[in-house]
Structure formats: structure tokens, C-alpha cells
Symmetry: C2
Subunit: 312 residues, 2 copies
């Protein structure tokens, strides 16, 4: 990279640190420095009407920056990406949780919650909540209630409704379909998965702070030809993926500031009610490799007091 | 969201605009404002040794911020995500292309190039290039040459090597495995896909600027039970996904500043050599819906002079 332009030299310190944080950081930095080459990305508001595809609406023209003046600066990301960024992570910060949305599978990538005993107590009523489309997601990628109709699958919460009883609006937020995955109903969503969710809420009695990351998995398995395949159903017009498994990784903090970690994977399938939860404990590394995520990665693993019940 | 904390109010303008840009923007903004709650994320350098999992290395402790002082601020993303962000988009800006890496599938999400007649001319020699691991990607998610060994698949470039003949180092960059997908060799990578790549290079003779976005697809198909399934092989120890299809979306700019768009999808399969390229043209919207990406979305579709050979 001998012919580094001045733009690139300026961006380089930002770009080279974004390994696991994404270009968004770089965009954010440039936005603050008022040097962002794509101001229109940020000119958008988040009101639902703005999320409608306006590209075919006459009069809604986006000014196009001038083309490159020379052909000698091939490394400029801003030039290469002149007409838009194809996609980055859709992230939503809601009252009770943070979700990263997988636009390809129309499922969450992951949902993060912080629970305390105060969060799970309250008079909120889930009968007042309705499953609702997340209008902040582009219509091309948005799951709808219609997609679940007659699919045979429940609309399964990843941030559980009952985790947010302290606030009716926080509970209502968990009904956005961006927090929902298709789950097997009987034997899973209404049974084993529900048992795991109740177990997590119970942890708030023992621990001051409980941090929970929940997400879908699409795990490969060997078929008769000896090769490994990932296979999963997609439902509805929008092809909402049906994950093969779900994970929950839980970090609990004691009042001494000690941390314990537990990580579970359950198949999206009917599970015997007598099967103990601890049988679903798996190494957190397995979840990380399978999901493409790093979980609680600010905490060195050997500083946890316990991981899945054992000293690390 | 009645009890909005001051932190949240400060973040809100940033958070609500990140719909399609990701939390990274928000992180970047906070970084520049020196208010980032996760400074250690940015303290990392991008040197390969830093990418090794240091979480279990004694003495490499990451300072943990103090826990929440009250339980009345459930909406703070910074509190919820206190111990790390599970994952965002891995983005690499290289000399000739920009790539977003899919850590779950160990493939690119998309690769973006800007080509001109100057880019594709030169004396660079692909015999001097070797396929190489991308050490800027965490080892958990990194494809290796071993994964391709005896898999039966070629290491197929998404940004083609021959697109970057003007510079040996730019050509070398296309051999990072983060720019590579497993492709069927005979009949596809060495034939139909190669024809498409040559066609794209040929466009630089007609057009001043050619912008190309290339990526994998994992398309569902109906099985005998009448349901739709996504199914794809994964190869090697790292479970590198074998995409079912690949797309290429090309925006060409004339010297009058007019734009034409072409979008292709090809199955990752042996294709008859006599099958014309134009038979693989598909509406760009189909690619967007299937990939979860928005392509050239800064340009309203009705302002293109032609899309797939027709006036929009």
C-alpha cells in the first residue's frame, strides 16, 4: 500500500482498529469530524415513514458526489463505496434490551439484557402487549406477523417478556418482531426454553446483576454422504429463518463483584420435561465459534469465579 | 421510555440514526466525544498478535467498569453491554477493495470494488501471490487454507485478482481468505464465473467508472414436504460455508455521469459454457432481499439510465 492518499492516512488509524467493531465506528468518527463522505446516511431520521424504500419515489433524489478525479487512488474506501454501503449491523437500543438484527435471516443476531430483581417485579401485563412489526427495519428485511401465520411455529421472545415486568412499555418492547424467532411451541418455547428463562430470572435473587445474551444458532450436522451441512427452514413471504438451536450466555455478578458465567444451547425442538437444564450447558467458546460472536469478551475467562459450574 | 437517563438522552440522537449503519457509528461518535464507555475496545491495535485470544492470558486483564449504581435505568445500552459487544460487522479496507466479513459463515458478506481501465492494466503476476489467512480476523472465525484442502472446492476470489493488475500489492490483497468463498471449480470458478469477471473488466473500456459489489447467497428452495429450506455445505475444521449462489451488482458511469446497473446471480454449480451471461440477470431487489443488503442505495432506481438493459 505504497500510494496512500491523505484521506486514507487520516482514516487508517480508525480503520485498522475496527476489526471487531465494524465500519460503523469509522463512519461515526468521520461523522463527528465532519469529514464523512456519506452525509445522507445520517440525514435520515428514524421515523417509520423514512424507512420506506424511497429510492423509487420521484423528487426524493439523493445528491450524488462527484466521481473520482483521477485513477491513481484505488484504496479510498470512500470512493469505492461512493453510491452507498450495502449493509452493516442493524442495531436497536430498546428500554430493556439491545438487539442486533440479522437482515438476511430476519431474526435477531443477538439480544442483550441486564436484569436485576427490580426489573422482573411489577404489575405489567403481557395481555396488553401485541406482537408488532419493527418499522425501523427496512421492509425488505422485516419479519411480519403474516410470516408466522400457519407456520406451525411460535413467535418466541429472545428477551423474555416476563424479564421486564417493571415497566409496561419495556415489556411491550419485547414484542417487536425484531426480538422474536420462530420457535417450536409445545415442548420448547412453552416448556424447556421457558424453564431456562425462569431459571435466569431466579438468578436475580442470588446475584445483584445478571447479564444475558440470547441468540439463534444454525448448526451444521453430518449427513449420510459424510459431509457437514447447515439446513434450516424459512417461513412466510419474507423467508424468516427457523434457527436450529438457541443459546443463552449468562454473566452473574455477586455483591463482591465476582462473576460467574453459564452458557446454554438448546435445540429448537420438543424437549422432554424431565431433562435437566444443566444438560444443556456447553463451553461458551462453542457458542462463539458457531455464532460468529464474542461473548462477554471484556472479561478474561480466567477471572470468572466459575464457568458452567467449574473454576476456569 | 419515561425514565430516560442523561446518558441515554445524550446517546439517543446517535442511536436512533443507526438503523442501517450499526452501533459502530454510535461507538465511533462516542469515541470521538471521549465519552465512550468501552475505551479498551479501541486500545487494541490491529497487529496479528493482538488478534490472538488474550482472554485467558494472565496479566492481560481488562479493567471492568463499576456496576450500575441503581436499578432504575434499564435503557442504558452502555450498562446492558458492560462486558463487551458480541459482534458487529468485520470490515476491512484494502488497497483495491472493501470487504465486510461474515464471521458466522467464514465468508465475505460483500466485497466492493471500483474499477477503471487503469486498474486492470499492468504487469502484476498472480503467480507471485499466495492464498493467505487474514490475521486481522479473530482465530475463531478465520478461514484457513486447511479448510479448503480436499474439500473439492476452489478458493474463489470475490474481488478478482485480475481486476487489480495495476499493483502487485493490490493483487496480493485479493488473496486474503477473507476475500474468498468456496466455489465449484470446473464449470463455475474457472468458467462461467470467470466469464462474468472478464465481462466486468471489459466494461471499463466503455465506462469511466465501474463499481462492483460481489457476494455469496444462501438461497432457500422447496423440498418435497412443500416447505422452504436453506441448505448449504460447510467445509473444514472452521466450517467455512459453501454458498449456494453468488451475486454481482455492477454500476457503470458514463462520461456524461449517467449510470447503468446490472445485477447477476449464478448458482455455485457447473454451468454450461454456451449459456449466455444475460440469462443470469435478476432484479437487484431480489438480491437485496436474499442477501440482507441494500445495493447502490444512494442512487434512486429511477435515475439509472438502464437497469439490466431496460429503462427503469
Amino acid at each position: 500500500m505504497s500510494s496512500m492518499s491523505s484521506l486514507k492516512s487520516r482514516l487508517l488509524p480508525a480503520i485498522t482498529t475496527v476489526t471487531s467493531v465494524g465500519v460503523g465506528v469509522w463512519l461515526g468518527v468521520q461523522y463527528e469530524r465532519k469529514t464523512l463522505p456519506f452525509p445522507s446516511v445520517f440525514a435520515k431520521t428514524s421515523s417509520p415513514s423514512d424507512e420506506v424504500d424511497t429510492r423509487t419515489v420521484p423528487g426524493h433524489l439523493v445528491p450524488v458526489p462527484p466521481g473520482p478525479s483521477s485513477h491513481t487512488s484505488p484504496g479510498k474506501a470512500g470512493q469505492i463505496m461512493r453510491f452507498g454501503f450495502p449493509g452493516l449491523t442493524d442495531l436497536k437500543s430498546r428500554e430493556g434490551y439491545v438487539v442486533s438484527y440479522d437482515r438476511r435471516n430476519r431474526n435477531p443476531h443477538w439480544v442483550f439484557e441486564h436484569l436485576t430483581s427490580a426489573h422482573i417485579r411489577g404489575e405489567s401485563d403481557r395481555q396488553e402487549c401485541d406482537f408488532k412489526e419493527d418499522e425501523t427495519i427496512h421492509p425488505y428485511f422485516r419479519a411480519t406477523n403474516w410470516d408466522f401465520k400457519r407456520s406451525g411455529y411460535d413467535r418466541g421472545h429472545l428477551a423474555a417478556a416476563a424479564n421486564h415486568r417493571h415497566s409496561q412499555s419495556a415489556m411491550g418492547d419485547t414484542f417487536y418482531l425484531s426480538n422474536i424467532s420462530p420457535q417450536v411451541g409445545e415442548g420448547f418455547n412453552r416448556d424447556a426454553w421457558n424453564r431456562l428463562e425462569r431459571y435466569v430470572r431466579g438468578l436475580t435473587k442470588q446475584f445483584n446483576n445478571v447479564y444475558v445474551c440470547t441468540g439463534p444458532l444454525y448448526l451444521p450436522r453430518m449427513e449420510s454422504d459424510g459431509k457437514m451441512y447447515v439446513k434450516y427452514e424459512v417461513i412466510g413471504r419474507n423467508h424468516v429463518a427457523v434457527p436450529t438451536h438457541f443459546f443463552k450466555v449468562i454473566a452473574c455478578e455477586t455483591n463482591k463483584g465476582e462473576l460467574i458465567l453459564e452458557s446454554y444451547v438448546m435445540p429448537n425442538a420438543k424437549i422432554d420435561n424431565n431433562y435437566p437444564l444443566k444438560n444443556f450447558l456447553v463451553p461458551v467458546e462453542s457458542i462463539e465459534r458457531a455464532s460468529g460472536l464474542l461473548l462477554f469478551d471484556r472479561i478474561p475467562r480466567n477471572t470468572f469465579k466459575a464457568i458452567n459450574g467449574r473454576q476456569p
